[in-house]
Symmetry: C2
Subunit: 397 residues, 2 copies
Amino acid sequence: MPLPPSGFRLSGVHCGIKTRAGAEDIALIVSDGPSVAAGVYTQNLFRAAPVDLDRQRTPSPRIRAVVSNAGNANACTGEQGMRDAAQMTRLVSQSCGVDAEDVLVMSTGVIGEPMPMEKIACGIAMAANRLGTDESAFLSAARGLTTTDRSHKVVERNVDVAGGRRVAIAGMAKGAGMIGPRMATMLGVLLTDAALEPDAAQSILAEAVDESFNAISVEGHTSTNDTVLLLASGHGSDRPLAGADLDAFREGLASACVELAKMIPDDGEGATHLIAIDVRGCRTREDAKKIARTVAASPLVKCAITGGGPYWGRIVSAAGYAGVPFDPSGVSVSINGFAMFESGQPKPFDSAAASRSIRSERETRITLTFREGSAATRFWTSDLTVAYVTFNADYKT
Amino acid sequence: MPLPPSGFRLSGVHCGIKTRAGAEDIALIVSDGPSVAAGVYTQNLFRAAPVDLDRQRTPSPRIRAVVSNAGNANACTGEQGMRDAAQMTRLVSQSCGVDAEDVLVMSTGVIGEPMPMEKIACGIAMAANRLGTDESAFLSAARGLTTTDRSHKVVERNVDVAGGRRVAIAGMAKGAGMIGPRMATMLGVLLTDAALEPDAAQSILAEAVDESFNAISVEGHTSTNDTVLLLASGHGSDRPLAGADLDAFREGLASACVELAKMIPDDGEGATHLIAIDVRGCRTREDAKKIARTVAASPLVKCAITGGGPYWGRIVSAAGYAGVPFDPSGVSVSINGFAMFESGQPKPFDSAAASRSIRSERETRITLTFREGSAATRFWTSDLTVAYVTFNADYKT
C-alpha cells in the first residue's frame, strides 16, 4: 500500500453524490508548497469543464491542490459547468488557504446534469479537515476517484537517484467503463517527491501515458473527462532531476503508469479476461498501435476470448481492416503461445489445449507479427461479457 | 416475393456443409446469355479467394453464372483456396455448359478451413439440375446465401423506362454478424433484365452500395468476404439504358439496395432494435459518415438502446472522438423525435416517454445535427444484447 510521497496530504470523504453510505466521492490532494504539475487530457471534442480548466493550468510550477468528485462528470453542462468547476477551486482555496488559481479539478460520473454544488461544498470542507499523510489517507483519496470500479487502483515505485537518495512515486487511478451515465471515465494521479522542471514533467508524463493509459480500452469509447495528472513536490531531491536521474525517474514513472493502466481493463465492466495484445514487425509504431487498437475494439475478438475460443480468424480479419497497409502473407498470430497462423497460412494447433489455456488464465496474450519493419507496441483490453451488456443496458441509472 | 428477372434461372440446394438437413448451402444463378456484371468488394486486406477471383472478372460484359456456398468462407486458405475457387467455376462450367472464365464465386462461413470440395461438387451438380424461373427458385437461392440469418432477405423493384416498357430488379442478401467462424459475412446479388453498359453498371452499383451496404454495421467488423454483385441480362430493354431511363434505374437500384441493406442490422445477431442514425449539417459527407460510423460502433450507445435508455451523453461523446473537427456548441441530438441536446446544451425532455418510445418501437431514430455545413448521411446498425454475446462467445462452433 503506497504512502503519500513527502510534501503531500490527502483525504477522501463521502458527501452524498454516491448513494451508498460512506462511499468516498470527494478526493482532495494538497501540496505543502508549490508543486510542479503536468497533465494529459482526453482527445474528445466534448471536453468536460474541469478538463478545460486543468488544460489551461498545466504544465505549472506552482500547483497546490487537486480536488476530484465522483458521480457527476460536469460534462456537456455549458457555462454553468465552467462556473461550477471554478467554484470548486475557490472552495479549496477557502478551506486550505491556497490560491484558487493553483488548484486543479477532476470530475467523473453522469453527463449533462448540473453539479450538486451544495454537497460538493460540504465535501470539500470535510476533506480539508481530514487531510493525512498515511496509507489510509492515500487509500481514501483513491477510493474517492472510483465509480463503477470493483476496487481502488493504486501503485508505488521508488527510484534511486544520485547521492544515495531515493525519490518516491505513488499513483491512483479509476476507470471501469469509459463513460457515463454509468458514472465512469478514466482518471489518474501520480504524486512524487522528486523535483522536476515543469516542461520535463509534462514531456515525461505524456510519454508514459502514451504507453499506458493511451494503450488500454474497455469498449473504445473515449470519455469527455479522461485526465492524468503528475504532481511533483520536490521534497525528495535538492534540485530538478537531470541526466541519469531523470532517466531513472522516467523509467519508474512509465512502469508505474503501465501497472496502474492495466488495472483498468482488468477491472473493465463485466470483464472476465484481461487481453494483452502485442503487435510486432510494423513499419511504424503508429501502424502497430492502429492495428492493436482495432483488434482490441472488435466485439468478435472480445467475445471469442470470453468463451475461450481460439478464433484467430477474427483477429487477422480485424487487423485486415485497421487501415494499415501490409502484406497478408507476412502475418503470424499466436494466442497464449499457441501459434495458429504463420506467414499468412493457417497452422495446425491443439485447439482444445488452447481453449483450456484461455479459459483457465485471467490474462490472454495475443501476438500479431508482421513482416513490414521493426516497430512494436503493447495494448490491453477487456473481454466482452453478458455482464457488460446487462450493466450498460440497465435503463434505471 | 420477387420473380427472377427475365434471362436468369436460379436454384438453392443442400449439399451438407450446413448441418441442418435440407438447409440450402449452395446457390446458383445462371444467365441465359452473357450478362453485364459489376461487383463491389470488401476493403479487408485479408481477401477471401472468391473475392480475389471476382475482382479480376468485374466489370464484365459476359458473365454467365454466379455460384455461392455458405458454411466455409474460403478465406485465409492460401494457394489451395485459390485453386478451390477456380475449381468451383470449372464445376459450374461442366454442369451448365458455360465458360469457366465467365463464372463468379461467393463464399461465406468459417475462416481458415479447407473447402469441402466433394460436397461442393455434388451441390453444384444438383443445383444445375434444379434451376428454375419461379419465386420458389429465387427464394431457395436466397436461402442458399444465408448463415446465421434468421431468414432470407429479398427485395424487388420495377422501373418504368421509355417506350412504355418496364425493367425489373430483384435482389437477395445475407448477413447477420460480419465474420466467421460463426459463418457470417455480407453477401448481396442484384439481378435485372435491364441492358446496361459494364462501366455504367459498375458505377451505379458502387454508388448504390455506398449509401446502403456500406452504411450499415452490426459490430463494425469488416469481413474477408463481403461482396455485392449486379447482373444485368439485357432481356428487358433493347439497348443499354441511358439518360432519364438510366437515372430511373439508378434510383430503383439505390432504393432496392437500401431496403436490402437495412434488413441486415435489423437481423443482426441477437438484435432487438434497428438503429437508424441521421447525421446532418456536416462540412462533407465523409465527415458525416465518419461520425455516424463511430456512433454506430459504440457499445455504450448500442447498450443504451437495448435497455431503452435515452442516454444522449453516450451519443455526443461518441461523436466527439470520431476524429472529425466541429464546434461542440453547434451540436443537437434527438432520439425518436425527443430533442435532448440543443446547440451544445442539455435540453429538458420527458425521459420516461422517450424511454417508452425506444422500448416499444423496433426502429430507434437518432438524429445528430451539426452547424458546420450542409452534408448529411444515414447509417443503420443493431443494438448490442446479451444474446449477441452468448452467441459469439459460445466456443463450440
